[in-house]
Amino acid sequence: MTFSTRLTRTLFAFAGSALLALYALSTNASADDAKKLKIIFVSPLGPAQPFYLPILKGFDLAGKQLNIETVFRGNQQTSLFSEAPVVKRLLEDAIASKPDGLVIADIYPDVLNDDIVGAVKSGIPVVLTNNGFGQADNVGALTFVGTDEHALGEIGATRLRELGAKNVLVITVPPGIPFVDARMGGIAKGIAPSKTTIVQMPVEALSDQTKVVNTMVAAIQKDPSIDAIFSLGSCCGPAMVAAREQLGDKAKSMHFATIDLGAPVLDALKEGKVDFAIDQQQFLEGYQPVAILAAYLRYAIEPVERFYPTGPGIVTKANAEKIMDLTAQSFR
């Protein structure tokens, strides 16, 4: 037998057992699925994005507790936002499969709203979540569960200004996604008369945390008058903590804030190295839409308000320790 033939056989054996193992790991269907209500959640993000884990946990937990089949359709590959056409396709596929209810992260209203209106007209109740502040009325959704991103930005910036920051380095992603723009608008409003220095991280650099850390260091080297960092999103919270370490003594006179509750940020909050983290309490953004849809579908109960705010909450040294275990379990 040649080397190649042996290789080929080994390979087939390996591929076969890998597929079997994969199947065993990935299926969790139960026998009584047929008569259950089915709710599909369409999103531009997915489990590879740490911020999304609590949302998915809430979504699945609500399904379990309320005896509803919950199906997630999002980005399974990367931690980045899927682009508009991709989300639109996911949404159209979800609508075509005629679920009992839809949960939608309405991140691209201009692209998605027509389809959402179509779904509502065809009798599928919709709850918007995480993204879509102000869109519930436009599309006829029962409500929007989440955070007003403009308010979030404004609250964070105001707080940093009140701490004494004069020039805040804002680490963000490139503009163009409506909620990112709303957040930046809020920051601009809240920071005045202090100012911001904005760095847009190139998206592919987010997969190389060394780049994220060193880019923050570069920005502060370039403009030594920067006296605070506001890092937006879970991409850059741990990197900000690492950058703080690189900055040495300079960091002691600076302020740090983020929108991330990963363990490095919580540890740093506890030690007073980060001033505060803004908390969207996004577990509710997964849990609540299922509960709202269940109540609507089963008992014809309709939310009165078109906005169910889950955040922004604030985590500081005072309450960081309390949520550490919950973060480790992805509830927060």
């Binding site: 080397f3 190649s4 290789l7 080929t8 080994t10 390979l11 390996f14 994969l22 790991l25 990935s26 489990p47 590879a48 994005q49 740490p50 884990l53 399974q76 590959q77 990367t78 931690s79 490139p174 503009p175 904005i198 760095v199 847009q200 190139p202 592919e204 650099a205 987010l206 997969s207 190389d208 945390q209 060394t210 780049k211 994220v212 850390v213 060193n214 880019t215 260091v217 570069a218 920005a219 080297q221 370039k222 741990p238 990197a239 903590v241 690492a242 990963g262 363990a263 490095p264 540890d267 480790a328 379990q329 992805s330």
Partner: protein, 333 residues
């Protein structure tokens, strides 16, 4: 131009060096007074270049042997988890956890190699398949095992580990990543130019059948190169996770393209048979300089990609021009 000087400039390393000087000159003028030329600024791009260079080094050998590896970026994520999980959840020391990472690398590299030489699947497709598969498995298994996609607090857990300085420390004030990079590039350059394995690699990238007839174990050689490439992903993973104190299932995405770009800028040929580890190191340095140097300039961030693309193409033009100038008037053979 004298014959010896001309011969020097015909080396891919030298033409890459000229374009590197051009890029460096540009940033010195555009951003020199913003800290680009300072020690911290230099450290900044050297460290990023090291991350690219470490994986680009074995990628260069693979390119010379006529193969691609698109899965090495994903290997970084897989290795971060394979190393971080036993440290965080099983209390393993770094050496043992590193062995776990290397074991995964051997598996991934072997499968890549076997798909390519055993089943004859084009390496572009075989390793693309591995890239997706490995990314999915890393995410799925990590969620299954930990309920999360990131693993934290590694440095605190291994604060007194004798191996920690190998991955988290600095030497002469410079990040250790730099020394890994230079060491690996030197070893690869030595292997390629001074050993019979180097000749084998060139032969494998030329005519595979001829190489096999000459008694060169092409299949084993390629499998070994794939394994070494995957192992380089483990090194980058460990350097990165101990620098940021975070292991994440999404890290390393796109690193495969940076590595291939570095190799090609440094004189490698996508079609195989050509490549220089030293040239690749210069290419990686240039990519690090372009990527991080940008943030020292006053150019608006919206133009980042346009800028990177333009500088990269300009650098390659300088590269080609230097070579043409050197070749002009070459004595007839």
């Amino acid at each position: 131009m004298g014959g010896r000087l001309r011969a020097l400039f015909l080396r891919p390393e030298l033409t890459a060096f000229v374009s590197l000087i051009a890029v460096f000159a540009f940033f010195s003028i555009a951003a020199g007074n913003h800290g680009f030329l300072s020690f911290v600024g230099t450290k900044n791009y050297l460290q990023v270049a090291a991350g690219i260079g470490i994986v680009a080094t074995p990628i260069t050998l693979l390119l010379v042997a006529g193969e691609f590896d698109l899965s090495v970026g994903t290997m970084i994520a897989a290795a971060e988890i394979a190393v971080a999980y036993p440290i965080s959840f099983l209390g393993w020391p770094i050496w043992a956890a590193m062995c776990a990472g290397l074991a995964v690398a051997v598996m991934v590299g072997a499968i890549n190699g076997l798909l390519v030489v055993g089943l004859g699947i084009p390496s572009f497709l075989a390793t693309l398949g591995m890239m997706f598969f490995l990314r999915g498995v890393t995410l799925g298994l990590t969620l299954l095992a930990t309920g999360a996609t990131q693993i934290f607090r590694l440095k605190a857990l291994r604060a007194h580990d004798p191996l920690l300085p190998l991955f988290a420390g600095s030497l002469f004030g410079l990040p250790v990543a730099l020394f890994w990079w230079l060491g690996l590039a030197a070893v690869a350059a030595h292997i390629l130019t001074n050993t019979r394995y180097g000749n084998w690699i060139y032969a494998a990238g030329g005519d595979r059948d001829a190489a096999a007839k000459m008694g060169i174990p092409v299949a084993r050689l390629k499998v070994a190169l794939y394994i070494v490439t995957a192992m380089s992903g483990v090194i980058v993973a460990m350097l990165e996770m101990f620098y940021v104190d975070l292991a994440d299932v999404t890290q390393g995405l796109g690193k495969e393209f940076e590595a291939i770009t570095a190799a090609v800028v440094g004189g490698g040929a996508i079609t195989g048979g050509l490549g220089s580890p030293i040239g690749t190191a210069l290419g990686a340095l240039m990519l690090g300089m372009i990527g991080q140097g940008f943030f020292y300039t006053d150019i608006n961030d919206n133009w980042f990609y346009a800028f990177v693309g333009a500088v990269l193409v300009l650098a390659v033009i300088v590269n080609g021009y230097t070579r043409r100038v050197a070749m002009r008037g070459a004595p007839p053979k």
